[in-house]
Symmetry: C2
Subunit: 300 residues, 2 copies
């Protein structure tokens, strides 16, 4: 039985009879091949990537595993259509908080039609793609007080400026009510999710090291998914090792091109900018914690 994914935060959504990805209960994600050759292109990328011996083993964890293509009943009722079969990267979580961040200071590339170029660059200038080298595409947070998911409004997300993006990245790792926009995000989970030796920052830095030398692919218009479980942090409070299971995954490869011996400076520049935002949040939290501790010590 296939169903609409519960934790998708950006891209085509399969609902109300529209074409979109589906998931099964075995942890598989079925992505319909888009008609205008983009789907074919993404399938070819996965084929190339899966068999490419030049991709280091430690980098593969950042990509969903692909199990080829399969004919599957499409979500729009148009009958059986070819779908990419991928591991559903959120299936191992109970209540994952998820953010989709499109990386790069442009989403177009040299070979595209003038029409596509114009469409892309307009959106790149309107969003933070040009200014920050990335844009938040969507996110949802598990609100443990309400025991339900809170979703950022797509319209608001696409209207972010630098401050908006910064606030979203803080909110994403906060425990106070996401629905109340008057609350300052408390960044309660920042250290566990963004920090630490297995956290988001460490993973982004590992990716950055690879992007500084890899000339295999140019990841145009790709996204970084950030996933974590906030419940497990809360349940383990007081425990030595809270398990946020923070994960970074790269997704959306419909516009990947051969690198032809040149690094993907567009992705790398945006990634470095994104890393700086994450570092700044961690630093502000560290500073606050130091102040708290010194207040505590002075109060004794």
């Amino acid at each position: 039985m296939l169903k609409v994914p519960e934790h998708q935060v950006a891209g085509h959504i399969a609902s109300d009879g529209k074409l979109g990805p589906l998931v099964d209960d075995q942890g598989r994600f079925f992505k319909p091949l888009q008609g205008d050759s983009r789907g074919e292109h993404e399938a070819k990328f996965y084929e190339s990537f899966t068999s490419n011996k030049k991709v280091p083993y430690h980098i593969r964890r950042y990509f969903p595993v692909c199990h080829g293509t399969q004919l599957v009943e499409a979500s729009d009722g148009s009958g059986k259509l070819p779908h990419l079969v991928l591991d559903d990267v959120v299936s191992v979580y109970s209540n994952p908080s998820v953010m989709d961040v499109k990386i790069g200071s442009r989403t177009w590339y040299l070979d595209v039609s003038e029409e596509y170029f114009k469409k892309c660059i307009k959106k790149d200038r309107q969003t933070t793609t040009v200014s920050l080298g990335f844009r938040v595409s969507g996110f949802k947070i598990f609100d443990h007080q309400e025991s339900s998911f809170w979703r950022a409004e797509k319209k608001l997300v696409l209207g972010y400026n630098a401050d908006g993006a910064r606030l979203a990245l803080r909110k994403f790792v906060s425990s106070n009510s996401p629905a109340d926009s008057n609350l300052t995000p408390n960044c309660a989970f920042a250290s566990e999710v963004y920090g630490g030796s297995n956290g988001i920052l460490a993973q982004l830095l590992e990716l950055k090291d690879w992007f500084e030398i890899q000339t295999l692919y140019h990841f145009n218009s790709c996204s970084i998914l950030m996933i974590y479980e906030n419940e497990s942090i809360l349940m383990k409070e007081g425990d030595d090792a809270p398990e946020a299971r923070a994960e970074v995954k790269l997704v959306d490869f419909a516009h990947v091109l051969d690198g032809n011996g040149v690094i993907d400076h567009n992705f790398l520049g945006g990634l470095c900018s994104f890393i700086k935002f994450i570092k700044d949040i961690l630093q502000s939290v560290d500073k606050r914690d130091e102040t708290d501790t010194s207040l505590l010590e002075n109060g004794r």
Copy 2:
């Protein structure tokens, strides 16, 4: 007595009665303030940069020292005009080889007029700015066999693709005749100029470290100048320490903007791409030297 700079390889050239920079024999470079506020903008940048305590000491060596502005007889005969007074970064060399590389995958930025945006992005797509994240703007090499300078033709330089840019970077550090385009550049000076603890690569990596964290300025449309002296390498052949005096300098700040807490991902991405090109050349030279040595050893 002011005269037209002998070693300028890009930008406005003061010759045939046109407005352009001038130099004196005391190592000063006089850059006329461009009328359309760009000159004012560059003067303001130098003022801000010179007094900015957040710029680390070791980074200042990559910028020309500025001595304010001064009224000077303009090169186009239009009388006295305000000029920026800078250190002439090539004045300490006898016969400097010089290359100007404009860094970044775009030369426009968000505040510019639609007209300027269109002009920039057209050129960015036509040159290697979009594809490589940098473009060679011009270069000259001291041809020690001819005892004269060879200059790359501006038209050819602006028509480079990735291979053309790679070849130019190899040619820039080669000792065989630059005028003969059929010769494969021998990269005779690559190790001394690009490599080593004081070479171009080491300097670029130091700049990169700063660009990963600095959020003070966005260096739109800036260039990296690479300068070295090939004669001094040749004269010292057999010596332990050949002195190429390879230097990296950042120039052209008419479009610098405040960073506003965001890193300059456009410059950084292009810089990383440029660094990869330099690394690739060094690696190919190392490989060749190893092969030469093993051939020699096998021949014994």
